[in-house]
Symmetry: C2
Subunit: 361 residues, 2 copies
């Protein structure tokens, strides 16, 4: 192993100048090799690669950001507690691992100003593209940013998106799967718990799940029994609203809940109040979170395969970065994981999966 070259900086970092001197070629030649640019002989490539190896050279991502690519994908989260995040991130990292790309995650809150500020920061870092996970931004804001940087949104249903891509589980279908499962087991009074009016727009997964619930009920001739109970976002009125639902004299016999987070809280309260699940109230959640699978919890849930969403979003973003300009909207299929909370059929101690077909636009 050679000593560090004297063309290293005063801080001791090996730079492209160091490599060029070591290989006896120009700086631009080293850059061409790094970029895999046209006009590099095999002999030159060999010399440069040997020098890079010998010196342990790593390009500065910051410097690259001034002219070329940083090989960075930004992931933007508005809720670090979203239960399907680990799977998405596993999916993303699985695709990026063999490449030069690296994912960097920024955590914001569900407020337009904070989400916007985080996206701006990611642009200032010269990231090559962004994956927004369940963003709460209006479509026009996302479109404005997409004019500056490639963007893919997960968990965001915008049928009019032109300059950014979307990757979603088919949330209407997910809700319909839940309703159908209840009906198949003989339930007719089927309600839905949804999240409050802060999430009012059609792009939101919550709204899509409501639409799916309502349409499935109507298809089944149960339009008169549609019963959507809206819970507020903020604690403690959120928990109070769940309790109020449980205390209703006209409580339905089965309920589809927009997310496992609130479904699990509901199960907890039911247990504390002596309401038997599924005998007094059958429950299906959404997300198939790890907690839902605990046999102490045993919540039936719609699974949307975060891993597949992460994989698909990353592949879609990389193709955007490579120059594709036509819009893509991917839709994956939800599946029902049946567990005890669904009830009405014996032998439901272990989860089992009912699958739908997937589709892309």
């Amino acid at each position: 192993m050679l000593e560090r070259d004297e063309t290293a900086t005063t801080s001791g970092r090996v730079t492209i100048r160091t490599v060029a001197a070591h290989a006896g070629v120009s700086v631009a030649a080293v850059s061409k090799v790094l970029r895999n640019a046209y006009g590099v002989s095999e002999a030159l490539r060999g010399k440069v690669e040997a020098a890079i190896e010998a010196l342990g050279y790593r390009p500065s991502r910051a410097a690259r950001g001034l002219r070329g690519r940083t090989f960075t994908i930004g992931l933007l989260l508005v809720d670090i507690r979203n239960p399907f995040l680990p799977e998405i991130i596993d999916g993303v990292n699985g695709i990026l691992a063999p490449s030069h790309y690296r994912a960097m995650i920024g955590v914001s809150e569900a407020r337009i100003q904070l989400e916007t500020s985080l996206i701006e920061s990611m642009i200032d870092y010269k990231m090559d593209g962004l994956i927004l996970i369940a963003p709460r931004l209006p479509s026009e804001i996302i479109a404005r940013f997409a004019a500056q940087i490639p963007i893919v949104a997960i968990g965001y249903h915008d049928p009019d998106a032109k300059n950014f891509d979307t990757v979603n589980c088919n949330d209407q279908r997910g809700a319909a799967v839940a309703v159908e499962a209840f009906i198949e087991r003989g339930y007719r009074k089927i309600g839905m718990l949804t999240l409050g009016s802060r999430e009012g727009h059609r792009v939101s997964v919550v709204r899509q799940r409501e639409i799916g619930y309502s349409e499935a009920m109507q298809m089944a001739g149960l339009g008169e029994a549609i019963d959507i109970h809206s819970i507020p976002v903020a604690s403690p009125v959120r928990e109070e609203s769940l309790k109020a639902f449980l205390l209703r004299p006209d409580r339905p016999e089965a309920v589809f809940c927009w997310s496992d987070l609130d479904a699990i809280t509901l199960l907890n309260m039911a247990a504390e109040m002596g309401i038997r699940v599924p005998e007094d109230l059958a429950v299906i959640g959404y997300d198939n979170s790890p907690t839902a699978a605990l046999s102490l919890v045993n919540l039936a849930s719609i699974d949307q395969s975060g891993h597949a969403l992460g994989v698909l979003a990353t592949e879609t973003l990389l193709s955007r970065i490579e120059g594709r300009e036509t819009h893509l909207a991917h839709s994956t299929a939800p599946s029902l994981i049946t567990r005890r909370s669904l009830g009405r059929i014996a032998g439901l101690e272990t989860g089992s999966r009912t699958t739908q077909n997937s589709s892309s636009q």
Copy 2:
């Protein structure tokens, strides 16, 4: 609002040159204002700040990385599923929100090569400092990186650390708190579940909790009853080992588990096998994860306040970045959240907290 200035780049981005032209001053003057450097009059500051506001200028973090600071804190995670992560991140973001700093999170795996590669990437981004959360690296590797970039480690007990800082919950004390709680309730056959030999070094939180368990048992005159059951890291032998523990004819009457993750799995299995908790087996976990608090789960747990750890680590790192060179090792106090799994005293349906003092070196 003025039109975008003609000195903007061809990509349309507002740069420091644009601001300088708009304010009628030099580029270096604008830089001095941005850096809050000495030698700026109030009049100049006013002109520059007005131009920045009018043009919506944001410095390029990539360009800043070439000479100054990017105002970026890197958070490195080896396990995105670690239940106390959301609280740590809330703590970090709470401190950074009013500043120019931004946290960027990188997710790795618990393998030396991958963790090392992620740290190198963060250095290549010219991040200003790093917080390593429960790193699995040997001390010498961390120290080598700390010679290049300010580092604070959370959940890493290295009494010999010289050039990086540590912020930990007092894990020995946490284990002792659990043992003492069992003893106070009359349990004498008290075991411990720990994580396998891959985590063999003293810096590891697992090893610290073992030490705390063993010493507390000896202090209580129960040295002969020390019983540490080691479970392997990898599934499915991990779950098999937990089941083997439950099936032991000489199973202890109470068990302290190194982490909520495995404690919850244990509770699940116990429920499936008809082992009553706490009547047949009392359990205390570690981390006070949200799942532990569900009344369907109701696991007593040692709380280490991820939020406080995040706050403390961030403050410590910022002072490192500002130039402090003396080593700091912060230790916060664990507290016991009592719940039903602990047993032996009536009226334990709601969690309550037993607190210890905190200390810093």
